[in-house]
Symmetry: D2
Subunit: 354 residues, 4 copies
């Protein structure tokens, strides 16, 4: 079976490396092109990259010559598919150019997430939002398109909100996150800032946490994005943990529910049927744990190969209605694997592939 | 000037050691008696203790022979004063016996904190609550009495709530804490549980956080405790930090206030006048920092010799009214130093000393 | 193909849990019996165990009823095979009893490691030492036998010593280890002892490091153990790392060798041919890395599924002859997986199985 | 009493900040001039600096306007005194220029440490090495001069070597260090490199550890430096500890000594008499601890206000003669405080001041 050749834009950064690592074993996609910074262009990827992932650079990708980030990539496909792990400034410039040049851009960057015609996607939550793609193409007069995945902190908190929205309605959420250092990339957080310490600030993160859920939980009607009317208050904290974002959330529901009803809703919830066709979507997507001290980053981040949500501590909230704690792996579900799932969804829905 | 001789109950544990360390340099008190477990009774304190504080055992205390915990201590004073750092089970048994035997019991334990006639004290917040002492004595027919200090997590969150209560009224608070490992004593938290990890659970802590503020911010009228009508929702997390509890708090105020008004209230607030007489109360009690990334445990815990609150990040809350982040040193302000301040207050108010 | 049923003694502790986890997916062995402490005896393993491994208790083992540790286990086999993860005191008592009762005891404990007739085994280093088994049986009049695996710290340092011994001879070694907290089990090291700290002491570890290499690198002649004449000086340190022991070693060689010759010896070395038959032995057993800052625990411990040695920094030593740094995963190669490999070796050599 | 006005070159970096903090409370010196990078020149120090020390910028220094680093500082004194915390490249350029312009340059940088006429000083170890200053002046035709302090890792290991050299002679030393992250400055070590990890490499550190002791323990005869004939083999490791470098050392002595004799030598050793006149030199300079698990960074780094050596674990070495473990605070004794002590020595010896 032929795999779909894809490009990775910004392949030498940490998110780009993660794409390369994950794609090396992907059943549907294979890396055919990598782009990188001036420093690395023209060199074999295996030599140019400062590989920070476990193990070695995948052999086939290691031999690819790093290309400059430009829209004339030698990449087949209709449309050709690129994963974007570009730095923010470059993403802003290049992602629209790639869409204008006919590429399907599956991005992990934040630049166009809140653009009303760019689907902000988690396949298990809002797979139907891809129906924004025709609107996006029409409005921009693009042969290609952009789809985005949400911020890693938003991701950690979102799935129980989705479940509660379906079951009870959600009016407001108070989110406090405890986020891992890997979320800041490399070199990222100075050890002098985070060792024996907590930093109650991650630039721009509170805003993302307050905005992205309303889009993820919104509706697309007549090709237009209708954001959900949910008030979100967020406080993001950086904690000395390598991987795994934990979100402590309190929710005001549309209609009252007991903790037992909330737990039952979580246990009974099933993702949309289309997810069964996505090879990366884990069998057990939402793991509810009864222990009072779970989820925990080190012990739960790798559940479902880093793609599951682990949820626990559902209980009544004396101020709003119900509280919970949720956790996901920030560089897998919250970043590269999440974007890969988006590409799988696009393939199943026929937006990419043959 | 003669210092008041005091006893330390449970002097060989970590809180007891902290009492011993702090009292060694205290201008008003000096350690005259130490009690300990069977293992250490009869030995010089300096030999029996597994000293975990920085530096060495204070020389004079090191020579004291550890006594069994019993009410026949050879301790002068009217009343004689003991600081209790007993384990919970022993505190439950012995603190009332000491009060019944005529001692002033200044406790750091949790057992009697919510007892309606036991003052739960932070001198800078509710120094007048000591007027519960006569009620306590009368109801129990005790010549002595017990005063308690709050849990270290409650302490970290409370001062801005007090300020806002005075300025605007407080109706509800949502508190998420990030707490240091030293709060669990020694050996306390296993390194395998907390390294590269966060634990969203500390036994009993959420309940303390939800109850104690209503007592600290309540009124005593006619010798009776009237708790404040504040709904509190709490989620305590253990994080890999040695010292310093950080509280992320969102508040529903009695009347609307802008973040600027809230910041002004914090900056303008002054502790009750009596605090100027307490040698341990820091000059600058509430430090408001404008930087978006403060307070931080490692950088702010030692402010005011570990007795100040550092507060920051006051801003509007999209769900309730106003948010803030506050931090205190959990083993100083939140434990031993806090209890010591209570004793200083009792001395100024004439409940102890000559 | 039928798998060999095995028992796990002390299956509820951390090493025992690791055995259970690894055996769940082993091609040759399957867990048929688990023994545990009084607290857990009579309960299904899945309920009695406080599972600390990633993921969930393997389903088939979870249903086994925990047995008391005794030699009347309902375990077929000629001899029946048990893996011992018993606490030291129990190992001392029970391992000889099991051998006397006809069991093959594959132990990870330290008690009989230095016993002259007990093979101290790393299959890739001294597979021929199993020829001590007949001596052991004869001397003790045992139908069964005991084989041991070395301490996790010894393991981390040993493979390059073996290579150098073969290539140049080894006269002396100075070993300084930086050891992970998981080596101390659970709860093991208090977070208050190791956070923002290093402890230059692990009880008994220096002695093990100074003794075990002389046995591993020794010869068996005429059924007798001849220890290697190597002087070892060791200093074990505990560092705040979850998994992975790093050993910094300087060696006096039997004959001079340049660093390049030493590196070539490491790169060219191949394990004994029998190792190709052991399913757990990694394809690339000794990974030499040229980077000046490798090996590193977090980045290299999982090489070869936690069974490879990563070695680096070979250079001339101004005091002895040559220096190197080596790393292994302490709970895999250095403990449970190492013992499992010993059982695989015994099976290939015909000491166990049918 | 008038304090000697001094300048701090590179005052906005982490070492420069430490100088500023320590000098704010120094009995003999006061900061009169601060120099900094282009970004900060012309602004008040308190505004230009990104203050990373505990507490606030000392008030008087905060008001000083940052000057460019140049030799026309408005600084009285004969000679005027500057502390250099310049980056390496700038130190190489500017320190000789300042000496040529008549300044006494007390540097913490590495550039000229091994220059044969620059005293490499620890006052308690080799105060007489300042007699190189006339040679230095003559050779370079400088009215001023440079004195240097050793690398923080060298410092941690050196004092017991000095003691043993005096008592028994020292022929060789094998040094393995476990070094704190603060040694790399700010931002310094990426948290992704050191969290749950150890890095067996610090650029240039092994060479410094192998060279500097031979100079510190050498003699000055006829104005010429004679380095000690000691072979040193070093392996520097970075560990996840905030402050405090630990050195594990094995020594070949000139004449055999038992561990007890070595311990007695350490306990009986006293620093040169001149050290009694240095206000920063701690009363108890060398603290020998009997516990098998000391010294430890977090528990011992602050001994003697961060200026004492804590030493332990003296025992026989099976390969060389005797082993020990030593610890100092790397940013205090090992950096800024050490340089300050050098200035105190120069004042007592009459090289600076009036």
């Amino acid at each position: 079976m032929n795999r779909i050749p894809v490009g990775v834009l910004g392949a030498t950064g940490t998110v780009g490396q993660r794409f390369v690592q994950l794609l090396a074993e992907h059943p549907w996609f294979e890396v055919a092109v990598v782009t990188g910074s001036d420093r690395t262009v023209g060199r074999p990827y295996g030599e140019g990259v400062n590989w920070l992932m476990p193990g070695r650079v995948p052999a086939r990708t290691a031999e690819l010559i790093v290309q400059p980030t430009d829209t004339d990539l030698d990449l087949p496909g209709n449309p050709p598919v690129v994963f974007s792990a570009l730095p923010t400034g470059e993403a802003k410039e290049w992602e629209p150019r790639f869409a204008a040049a006919g590429y399907a851009v599956v991005t992990n960057t934040s630049v166009f997430r809140m653009n009303p015609t760019v689907p902000l996607l988690i396949p298990e939550i809002n797979p139907d939002h891809t129906c924004l793609i025709p609107t996006q193409r029409a409005e921009n007069n693009w042969p290609g398109f952009i789809v985005a995945s949400p911020n890693c902190s938003t991701t950690s908190a979102i799935l129980p909100l989705k479940v509660f929205q379906e079951a009870f309605g959600v009016e407001a959420a108070m989110i406090t996150t405890l986020q891992a250092i890997s979320g800041a990339g490399y070199p990222g957080v100075s050890s002098m800032d985070i060792y024996d310490n907590v930093v109650p600030y991650i630039g721009g993160e509170d805003e993302k946490l307050e905005n992205e859920p309303t889009k993820l939980l919104g509706d697309v009607r007549d090709g237009r994005m209708i954001r959900a009317g949910i008030a979100v208050s967020a406080q993001a904290n950086r904690v000395p943990v390598v991987d795994g974002h934990l979100a402590s959330v309190s929710v005001r529901l549309g209609r009252r529910a007991t903790p037992d009803e909330a737990i039952a809703a979580l246990r009974d919830w099933r993702p949309p049927a289309i997810c069964a066709q996505l090879p990366s979507s884990p069998q057990e997507l939402l793991i509810y744990r009864d222990e009072p001290d779970r989820p925990q980053p080190r012990r739960d981040r790798d559940a479902g190969d880093g793609l599951a949500w682990t949820v626990g501590k559902v209980r009544a909230c004396p101020v709003l209605d119900v509280r919970y704690v949720a956790l996901t792996h920030n560089t897998l579900r919250g970043a590269a694997s999440g974007a890969l799932l988006n590409a799988e969804l696009l393939a199943v829905q026929g937006y990419i592939g043959n």
